[in-house]
Symmetry: C2
Subunit: 339 residues, 2 copies
């Protein structure tokens, strides 16, 4: 497998197969070590503390910086906290690295810092170290933020994308596609009847409740870039299982569905920033669903499908009219700079 | 103290007083916690593992990406590893977050990844997690890299900028100003008689030897942005001591001195990426000097000054003709995008 272009394309940052190709061809063979290899969003380090450490990093380049329901600051904390939580970790410390374009309004930086602080408080993490770089006008687009995070894994569970098992239920904690549509509508100046708010939120509190409830979670994933379709394809591929979804059960707000129709998007491919996909044995799915629905961030949780021993490595959708179609791994992200 | 401009200036990322003002006015009061407060390059976390953890982050925006003696990849690992080493930590894990401009040559990315790997091997750290974002053409300048690092502090010593003591010797491991002049000469296309090479290198091996030698190190600092002048002023200020330097003893390569003369720069303010400033009791300074000079990265080490109880909070220079001048804290960095 070779990278098809000799130039970096927008798709190479899109969370789909183009990005995987780039990462697998350049970064993985180069850095080649046991912590990077699993290609999870967090590295799990088991040689340092008594508990395993989770360590993650993400750059945030969202445009516009402020959008309905959030901003780049809230996104930069939530995204990184969620990556830790998806490894079953309790997030603790966050680092903050900003690249600012000369001329950026100090007032906006202040607002973003306040939003970072609010979100960090909500997620119970501390911003403990940081760095500021400024580049000349035109060399960056406003502000880019990279956060890294450290958490500890207190559970005995091994939660990872390759642990999906035949018969597992596939559960999501609410409506899909809100973040992507909120950002796009703001960016493109599209006014829908009712404004769609981004779901951006730290999920660490919710995950902690799941872990405390003694449910045998196999997989946790936040369906961000590339949406649920990319996350589920990654799980199907790494676990070597099939995943069957039921179109009628996938929670999508009517206004998001209309927006997707207008923009020619499929909500399953639209980014989320406050959603998780959980896989657990079918026998525990009801318990998990009840728990999720009691939490403010899980009120519209639903069982959307199950793991099957057919269609290995693929995600398939049973449509509402009884047909079946493959949910392909996206090549890139439909909406660039969504996070 | 208020930020004087309502727009971000290049100086706000320059490692001098403008940046400190920004950090102290916006970030520190907002995030307000015991780990961030000391404003060291690494946060020291003492509540997690048996050993203290050091955690740091830095964004790298150097222009050009390839310069004599190094590239952005080598810089991104060395800078972060050195920040950990300056806290007395053994660097272990590095995260890698890249923001790439659409159209960037894949071949250059490959070269940078290889350089990151080489430097990581040299520093004995592993790149364990990463993220790739791509922005549209014109929204970034080639590639920006943010690395974060985790290390463990095995020494009992408390090494920090506020621990300088009256009578301490001030020692540097070699020639000052190489990195800044190497980058500038490449950027501006200036040809000097002999090409100046950047000193960019991971200092963790050298620091480990210092720690193993049982020397009572009070302060370690890498004089990067803002050069030795900024680093020494920070030490003088946080330790509430004076620092007296001796112009005749400061190691500067003749070609760097000529370049500085031509460019109107003072080598003391020029960035280094493979240098450390160490402060230890005068009685142990010879031992430290001998140790440094035996190491490939310390062959031109020198005692350049001492801590004094005069001039509290200031750095002063005894000139070669017997005068005295204050070495001011720079306002910004003389050479933008030097790291």
């Amino acid at each position: 497998m070779a990278i098809e272009s000799d130039r970096i394309l927008i798709a190479h940052g899109g969370g789909g197969s183009a990005m995987h190709e780039l990462v697998r061809e350049i970064f993985v063979p180069t850095f080649n070590n046991q912590f990077l290899e699993p290609l999870q969003d967090s590295a799990v380090i088991d040689e340092l503390a008594e508990d395993r450490l989770a360590f993650t990093t993400d750059a945030y380049v969202v445009r516009p910086l402020f959008f309905p329901g959030g901003d780049i600051g809230r996104l930069a904390v939530s995204g990184t906290v969620n990556d830790l939580a998806m490894a079953g970790a309790r997030p603790l410390y966050v680092s903050l690295s900003v690249i600012i374009e000369e001329g950026f309004p100090v007032e906006q930086l202040r607002t973003i810092a306040a939003s970072i602080k609010d979100t960090a408080d909500q997620a119970r993490v501390k911003v403990v170290t940081g760095d500021t770089k400024v580049v000349e006008k035109g060399a960056a687009d406003g502000i880019f933020i990279t956060t890294s995070g450290i958490g500890i894994i207190e559970t005995e569970l091994e939660i990872a994308s390759d642990r999906a098992d035949d018969g597992d239920a596939v559960i999501v904690n609410g409506y899909l596609g809100d973040h992507g549509i909120a950002v796009m509508s703001k960016r493109e100046g599209i006014n829908f009847k009712s404004e769609v708010q981004s779901d951006v939120a730290p999920l660490s509190g919710l995950v902690q409740e799941i872990l405390d409830a003694d449910i045998d979670i196999h997989v946790l994933r936040d369906p961000t870039r590339g949406g649920a379709a990319a996350a589920l394809n990654e799980i199907a591929e790494s676990s070597e299982v099939g995943i069957r979804l039921h179109a009628a059960k996938i929670p999508v707000r009517p206004e998001v569905r209309s927006a997707c129709d207008i923009l020619g998007l499929d909500p399953l491919y639209v980014a989320n920033e406050g959603k998780l996909i959980a896989l657990c044995p079918l026998g525990q799915a009801r318990k998990l669903l009840t728990l999720l629905r009691k939490h403010p961030l899980g009120k519209s949780a639903a069982i959307i499908g199950e793991v099957t021993s057919e269609w290995l490595g693929n995600v398939i959708m049973e449509t509402e009219i009884g047909g079946t179609r493959i949910v392909e791994m996206p090549y890139g992200e439909q909406l660039p700079r969504i996070c």
